[in-house]
Symmetry: C2
Subunit: 335 residues, 2 copies
Amino acid sequence: MALRTPYLLFLGDAADQLAAKTANGIRQWRPDWCLGQLRLEGCKADLGLPDLTLEEAKAVGVQTLVLGVANRGGVIGESWQAVLFRAIDLGMDIAAGLHQRLTEVPGLAEAAAKAGVALHDVRHPTGTLKVASGLRRPGKRVLAVGTDCSVGKMYTMLAMEREMKARGWAADFRATGQTGILIAGGGISVDAVVADFISGAAEALAPAAEADHWDLVEGQGSLFHASYAGVSLGLLHGAQPDWLVICHEPDRPHMRGLPGKALPDLESCMALNLECAKLTNPGVQVLGFAFNTSALDDAAAKALLAETSARFALPCVDPVRGGVAALVDRLAEKG
Amino acid sequence: MALRTPYLLFLGDAADQLAAKTANGIRQWRPDWCLGQLRLEGCKADLGLPDLTLEEAKAVGVQTLVLGVANRGGVIGESWQAVLFRAIDLGMDIAAGLHQRLTEVPGLAEAAAKAGVALHDVRHPTGTLKVASGLRRPGKRVLAVGTDCSVGKMYTMLAMEREMKARGWAADFRATGQTGILIAGGGISVDAVVADFISGAAEALAPAAEADHWDLVEGQGSLFHASYAGVSLGLLHGAQPDWLVICHEPDRPHMRGLPGKALPDLESCMALNLECAKLTNPGVQVLGFAFNTSALDDAAAKALLAETSARFALPCVDPVRGGVAALVDRLAEKG
């Protein structure tokens, strides 16, 4: 799957800014692809992009209408459907990362086929996957792992891609979830593949490459999350990372969705991830830490990052507050 | 899914006895359910059961025709199809564990619907699964784990179920693969569920039970197999085992399907499985070892089992050569 760019970001009748977080992420990381936003009456989200009609978007070259909004249940709203059909009439592809598939909207698949455009349900993998081979392949890879879900793995890998590209390195962000796929224009939602193919999907996603090429692989879940650790382990084995970045949110009260379940400490998280990753890459090392310190004030955040960095003798950054240059610096040094 | 018993085992035109290994397993572990076998011309397999026509099978009370044979590719042979349609006409359900689905045979689903019988593609999970909760639940569970795939996990758990039932214990084998499902009459093929639901499937499979009830959960894959470890980990977390049995084939030259990749040593296998299992059951312990020593002669096998048992101060059995009484004895003692 490769998405055609540029995009028009559809925000529908989003109840608040958070409901448009997928569109927010695309806007932040791929501003050049985002020509405008399309909002229905009552929409409470705003990306600060020009409001375009479908016709205006077509005129300025939009290739794909992206549903960048989620409602409760992840369904395609009835009020959205006229927009989808009209976009197809105008020759646009449509991409969505919702639970409900575009192909489940009555008549939409037929209309798309007739118009010769594509519907991309990026949360639902298509195509044939292979079982992982476990064989080492050339190229270099960094994988974001974490103490929990939703601790900034996607953000950290996107920030590293941006930093590396700014330095002229060959680097590609590799998306493993729906928002990442819409940002990267391709990828595989690994938590939605059939279980036997998790690590095979990761092998396909970050394939053999030139010796000096870097893949920045988005992580998923956590080896310490009772619901999703299988996905994390398969991704760890298939990605064959040379380097791990440990992502963490210091003030989180418990594992996401599991009240009463404490987060692992950083030492345990490093040790188990390294042990498991060595199965497919015995040379794997920890590059450093990426913390989401948004709950702390500046002084407290700086103190925590410095203290953690000193404790492990490894870079510890907050990608939002201070960027990821320290992580890339270490790669420049260590190779 | 619950399969209706008794069964007629369909061997088709099996090229050799190994092609009928699923039927062999059902015959061995559920002899009371197996009223006969049905073989086409040229069939080279024989289960030692009465050869019955579909009509004879119907007359003696068969409820389900089970495809207990696999060919290269796991497809439904063309020469088998007339048999399937006739079985439906006679009111039998059909169950298969092949890659190809029964519902892919043109007209078969319609014929089954019309006759009011069920088609069970046991390799392909149906029904809605939930994401795992990770919450502890009552009842006791044993999970077979291993140094590799195909080292006797299913056999070991079935042998423990038989031994426990013979002692009057409340015990249920819980199937996680296609052959196990046909033997148990139900279960979930966990390597075929969507990745996010691996541990949730395991929670559903071995649910809350009486405090003195034992679930014997069939294992899958190995934490040390680069292709399938994600499935193994999700199953480990979802099963929440109180006890692990470590399954191993001593003379295997390399990890299955991965030439050149050595098997882990028993110490590493125990340590990593225990560490990961503690996430959902901090009290988990290793019960003992089950070795497949079929490549060794009697004296060598006995010496190896005794030596391993002494080295770890834990029972080490070959379930085929000597049964699993030593494992159940230890449970009786430890509870």
